[in-house]
Symmetry: C2
């Protein structure tokens, strides 16, 4: 018997992994700040909290979430928009993280692929780094796994993980929501990273061509549908500096799968309903296109964000101040509804 079975012959190349790490190094370090402690060879990433805990965060609470980009990854692979999937991955996590008033600190990723091809995968990391820079978030680590028998040729999956910090006295949990308050919407860029199983089903059922330019979209279907998820960190951090959590900002919601209905309901007190007025914000044309191919309007609102990526709830007397503050940040915010006495439901009419 010859001793000829090696790890490399089984499809895994440890040396290729070393090449990969050096390839992505500059993207990773582009996100680093004075908190990141660099220890070459270490088994885990290090983030110095001392200054943060000293300054202003007297009662530190860590906030953390995990998310992927769902089946958007499949369309992203098919259309080679992998950089943007990296932005989506960060967005899905940081937008969740900030709803409670937390400041994002760091991010880690998991990429599993058929093959560890640096040329194919580096753009994902560069997209993640781009999203992290937009969020003031350091990439503290990650894992890239080569699994030829789990993923088909060219396929990969992504998971992201984010940690932030908030002072316990400043956690926004929706418990201050009350009838009479205003609902402010921040626009989405389109579908973001939810509902893609339905999008893909529709593309296949209606036999749509992703590369086709649509005048109503002003771009190709692929460009419209795969536009990266907006990141709301800069705007929300600015609001949290200018307004008081809970007193002025009573709740925030990231509108993901389940749409306005499910995501706004998550932050409402059970003695009020959210009454959202249809047509009080512009619906991106991609949603008209999708709906025109056979999705009921109620299902559209149940699955997609319909043009609202993030919601902020404030007492009515400061709603205009909040909107003006957002406009000054070039954020096209608008008041789209109000809380009324109720039982924790979301009514879109």
């Amino acid at each position: 018997m010859t001793d000829d079975l090696t790890y490399k012959s089984s499809g895994v190349d440890i040396d290729a992994n070393t090449t990969w790490v050096s390839r992505i190094q500059s993207a990773l370090t582009s996100t680093h700040n004075e908190h990141v402690i660099s220890k070459p060879g270490g088994f885990a990433g290090l983030f110095r909290l001392t200054d943060l805990v000293g300054q202003g965060v007297a009662n530190p609470v860590l906030v953390s979430c995990a998310d992927g980009v769902g089946t958007k990854v499949i369309l992203g692979i098919e259309t080679n928009r992998t950089h943007d999937l990296g932005i989506d991955l960060v967005a899905m996590n940081v937008n969740d993280l900030i709803t409670g008033g937390a400041t994002p600190l760091f991010f880690l990723d998991y990429i599993a692929a058929h093959k560890l091809s640096p040329d194919a995968l580096a753009p994902i990391i560069e997209g993640i780094a781009d999203g992290c820079r937009q969020s003031g978030c350091a990439i503290l680590g990650g894992e890239t796994a080569e699994m030829p028998d789990l993923y088909k040729t060219g396929d990969f999956d992504l998971a992201g993980f984010c940690v932030g910090i908030v002072d316990e006295t400043r956690i926004i949990d929706g418990s201050h929501t009350a009838a009479g308050q205003s609902i402010i919407a921040l626009p989405s860029t389109g579908v973001h990273s939810n509902g893609f199983s339905l999008v893909r089903k529709l593309i296949s059922t209606a036999n749509l061509d992703l590369d086709q330019h649509h005048d109503t979209l002003g771009e190709t279907l692929a460009a419209a549908v795969l536009k990266p998820t907006r990141i709301y960190v800069r705007q929300v951090m600015s609001l949290l500096n200018a307004f008081r959590p809970n007193t002025d900002i009573t709740a925030m919601a990231h509108i993901t799968g389940g749409g306005l209905d499910e995501n706004v309901a998550r932050v409402l007190n059970t003695n009020c309903d959210a009454l959202i007025t249809k047509n009080s914000w512009p619906i991106p044309p991609i949603f008209d296109l999708l709906q025109s191919h056979g999705i009921a309007e109620s299902e559209m609102y149940r699955v997609f964000n319909m043009g609202v990526g993030y919601v902020i709830i404030t007492p009515s007397d400061i709603a205009n101040d909040v909107v003006r503050h957002l406009h000054d940040l070039n954020e096209n915010a608008s008041i789209v509804g109000q809380l009324i006495p109720g039982s924790g439901k979301v009514i879109i009419q």
Copy 2:
């Protein structure tokens, strides 16, 4: 045109997701402690750091890592050992985390599957909860994604993320390693979660039957090869309470892919080599079996842990005290080598 396309018809069932969350609730809460702040409906998990920062961790540094279980997941699926894969997932993360002296705080998981089947996936979460209880780690969140077109029927992938804390003055980074120090090995249970592409290649090439009982193993091949990765948190936390970081414990390494060679080298100063004496620790019989089917011994040591799951380096004059402390914890530790003047290499002979 009928409006008949729904999210459910496209393969995703939002209601099923709600059932899933309630199914796994007790596993999740079994890991919770007084630090976890429970906020129903929240977009992210909350972990109160205040007490920890107040007591003893004056210069808090967060430590974080991400990892999966590699292609072990494929054999775990084939042999229906999904609970143990959950333990592996935690082990791969927490064992990395503690090498720098950190205490694990919380864990998040990402599970992506062909189908969100609570019966098939709940055991994974229960395994994760088991691993987290062994590690004193709270499950703070996670994401379960149903992706029928990315994963084949019955397939899934796992990623885990862990966060810990260490006082900056107590970070162990190997910078105190020096010639003359002793290398202490903690036993592995076998292959742990690395080298499975090679294991699977070998099983297929040699046409091995996973269900076959082997007298040398005392169990079936599946039981031996898929045994969950040991979690070293309890032992290492106890050591870090009893001995001084850097002065007494100069380095620690989790032996994963790359074996003793690559993982011990990561924590060595460049002016010393690690001289490890073969046969100074028991090699679990699974490695003999694997090697006997055509893997060179050098490749075995390059890919597998060969029976050593975790390494601790200490000054020689306290090595016996450290070993005795570990024996008192029922940990079968042994001195397997020493550091000698050199250039950062690992020599196994």
